[in-house]
Amino acid sequence: MAFDYDQYIRGGKLPHIWCPGCTYGIVFKSILRVVDTLKLNRDDIAMVSGIGCASRLPGYVDFNTLHTTHGRALPFATGIKLSKPDKHVLVVSGDGDATAIGGNHFIHACRRNIDITMLVFNNFIYGMTGGQHSPTTPSGHLASTMPYGNVDPSFNIPELAKGAGASFVARGTAYHAAGLDKLISGAVQHKGFSVVEIINACPTTHGRRNKFKSPTDMLLWMKDTFLPAVAFDKLPAEKTAGKFPMGVLFKKEGAPEYCETYYGLVERLKKQREGRA
């Protein structure tokens, strides 16, 4: 039986704003399948986003949803999670949202290892504002503000997340949609800060400018460029040039989770006072 996406989509909120050929819809569907497979109670989910094309996603889903300011989804989500540690808090963010204007919040959420699932839709560009370069735009690529080719070095989001202290780090792509379900599901189930970088295509503001003839070309590029981490790790160094690993790239069990530590302190103080009384 075909999966019934409508059960999670708010009545009357489609069509979405995304362009034809945009891969965000693929990820959108993957998220809904995961929520269904994990049987999450939708009353217990808060989905929080910043600003950008990716950040419009929460508007379509039937959860508690919060569309905040550019780059700030994580601190809003932190306030929610720390207030209600037993709820599921999912953040949807673009590459610019998460690593440029929101970069500071990103590394600090990683450092706290707070139990939030962070889905970074990396399309290598500022989609919503018309194709300016982002901290992930590949070197040499054309962008509306890099008319001679990008001179800015780029972030490797999983490395950044791992270095900053996230305890679950994964990378998937819109092309490998079935694998994406597993990654998002693993991230949601993981206790701690989990980051999934999801490689996406923005044909409108990135592909067209950079010699991708069609959205399909961009998906085929993902197919050729991203290899399962196990396969990637076996390749000799000279063969990994221009390729990237995907899958669960880092996972640390048992790292202290922020809410547990905080409420552990609350409990300890309570016991101390009871002991004294």
Partner: protein, 376 residues
């Protein structure tokens, strides 16, 4: 039995927040407001509340809004540079109508300015700090006891009108220690946000058909609604270029404008027969009171109008006052900001003289008295 304590203004602010039922503080350290955070970092974990020091003031403001959306009463405290950083998210809370309280212990500015000295030069930023048209409520206590009670009132107004409320005082009263009485629970009224009573399927988070302040559902209580900083319809979802935007923004302003009688609070001191009035708030209001007393001793009929609510501005009261006195003196720790509001309301009906000072010290009573004499 009320508790009697010797507290700093900043500590009294924290006590006021706890009295009001605040269980969430998100902050970032900055002089001269840091003691609010320090005090709550000790107290909140003891009552199961949340204290978090965020990575910056932008994040602190965001966390506070997130906490409030789950039903907690939430506070942040800051000064000058931090207050500037909070502005975008404060606007978010205004448009999305999420209650929260922001304390600004004012210092000199712009930029790093005078971190350890008092200032009153953020007062227009308290009104117009974030971009766009928006409502503003800002309270200006002058005594440690008042900081306590006005903090309670700030939470009440914020919950009542679903809007951020600013409390603005300054370094001197933030750090000054005075005797205060903390009343027993239940003595001061506590207001909590109105929750929806309809079934979730019928809930419209911004339905204004039954009043300007729609009931607010907390996250995770079954209502599953959408909150966005885009202009939105009654259902909370974005609208584009719609007449609804205009009427809804008018409603946001009306929440405050139409309830001025309830929101505006002030002290009038020896104004009945006054020939010269002083308009002053916060630390300048305290100096002004001493100046009035000194003037009266010399037989000069001076009086004081001391607003505890600076925004919305007590327009009618000042208009009325200006018709009864020869002049109004406005001392402020800025190069002249609030005097323009007084001018706007006095409309030339009396003389108007400012006293400005930004060197990191308060305006002293002698300065004010001298100006009062000039105006007589």
């Amino acid at each position: 039995m009320a508790q009697v304590k010797l507290l700093q203004g900043n500590e009294a602010c924290a006590e006021g927040a706890l009295y009001a039922g605040c269980t969430f503080f998100g902050g970032y350290p900055i002089t001269p407001s840091t003691e609010v955070a320090e005090y709550l970092s000790r107290r909140l974990p003891l009552i199961g509340g949340v204290f978090i020091q965020m990575e910056d003031e932008i994040a602190a403001m965001a966390a506070v809004i997130g906490g409030s959306l789950t039903g907690r009463k939430a506070l942040t405290a800051t000064s000058g540079p931090g207050f500037s950083l909070k502005q975008e998210n404060m606007g978010f809370a205004m448009l999305t109508e999420v209650p929260c309280v922001i304390v600004n212990v004012m210092r000199g500015g712009p930029s790093t300015g005078v971190p350890t000295g008092p200032g009153q030069s953020d007062i227009m930023q308290c009104r117009w700090g974030t971009h766009g048209d928006h409502p503003a409520i800002c309270l200006t206590p002058a005594y440690v006891q008042e900081i306590f009670s006005e903090t309670v009132r700030a939470f009440n107004l914020s919950e009542r009108y679903r809007t951020p409320v600013i409390i603005a005082f300054d370094e001197v009263i933030g750090h000054m220690r005075e005797r205060i009485e903390i009343p027993d629970p239940g003595v001061l009224p506590i207001i909590n946000r109105t929750k929806p009573t309809c079934p979730p399927s019928e809930y419209l988070p911004y339905d204004d058909s039954k009043g300007d302040v729609p009931p607010m559902a907390n996250f995770f209580e079954g209502y599953r609604y959408h909150v966005t900083g885009l202009n939105h319809g009654t259902d909370g979802f974005p609208v584009n270029a719609s007449p609804r935007i205009h009427t809804d923004e008018l409603r946001l302003m009306r929440k405050v404008e139409a309830n001025k009688a309830e929101i505006i609070k002030y002290e009038e001191y020896l104004l009945e027969d006054a020939e010269v009035a002083i308009f002053a708030y916060g630390i300048s209001g305290r100096s002004a009171k001493t100046a009035v007393e000194a003037a009266r001793k010399e037989g000069i009929k001076a009086g004081l109008f001391r607003p505890l609510t600076i925004w919305p501005f007590p327009e009618e009261q000042i208009a009325d006052l200006s018709g009864h006195v020869k002049g109004i003196v406005v001392p402020e720790l800025s190069l002249g900001q609030i005097i323009f509001e007084v001018d706007r309301c006095a409309k030339g009906r009396c003389k108007l003289e400012g006293i400005y000072r930004v060197d990191g010290d308060p305006i002293n009573p002698a300065q004010i008295l001298a100006k009062v004499k000039e105006v007589m």
